[in-house]
């Protein structure tokens, strides 16, 4: 690997990218990005995806009967507990 970040290959830069992005550093300011259109496009896409993901909060509402199932499962479990410890097999 070269010591000069601007002379880094795309492979070298992209190998560092998870850490660079994950650490909250300004990856766009990296000198490789300044000189490489391909990696600039990659970074921009990844940022767009992360941005779009924030709109994806779950919207599926559980059906009404799910709570009834849960309630009866809990009661069922309580009932078993009231019966005392199960016989050992």
């Amino acid at each position: 690997m070269t010591g000069d970040p601007s002379k880094m290959s795309c492979a070298e830069f992209q190998a560092q990218l998870p850490e660079l992005i994950g650490s909250g550093a300004d990856a766009a300011a990296h000198s490789h990005i300044q000189s490489c259109e391909l990696c600039r496009a990659l970074l921009s896409d990844l940022e767009t995806i992360a941005e779009a993901a924030r709109q994806l909060l779950p919207v599926v509402e559980p059906p009404d009967e799910l709570w009834e199932h849960i309630e009866s499962a809990i009661k069922n479990e309580d009932g078993q507990a009231d019966d005392g410890p199960k016989a050992l097999k």
């Binding site: 795309c10 850490e19 992005i21 496009a41 990659l42 995806i49 994806l56 799910l66 499962a73 479990e77």
Partner: protein, 154 residues
Amino acid sequence: MVGNIAEAEDLTQEAFLQLHRKISTFRGESAFSTWLHRMAINVVLMQLRKKGLSLISLDEAMEPAPEQGPGRSFGAPDPALSGTIDRLALERAVADLPAGYRLIFILHDVEGYEHNEIASMLECSIGNSKSQLHKARLRLRDALRAQSRKEAQP
């Protein structure tokens, strides 16, 4: 997270059962919502493990082989995504992610957990969490670009 509504309902029920069993162990060391969410995540993790899904492919995550990984982009003059992404297209692409990638992507990018929180929830290293998230985003990028290429065809 599991990509299947019926399974999600079963896991919701299991999470409530766990809550019922373990509520007495709640010590108030974290917010109740955090505690409950962590327990629910654990229920999902157990299910994914039970199904034999490699949750976090730790070895793969650590392999410095970007040319074999998803989303290699050197020398590939594919068009970049446009500035906006269709929500439905993204949802579809997320649903198609392998379970481990999907989990980390949802926890971090959708629900807003930090890498250190994810690492502690999933019992992996922070580096792994970052690496898996990156791979998940690369896969999504590939999927979204493939989709837009398909749509662009007459």
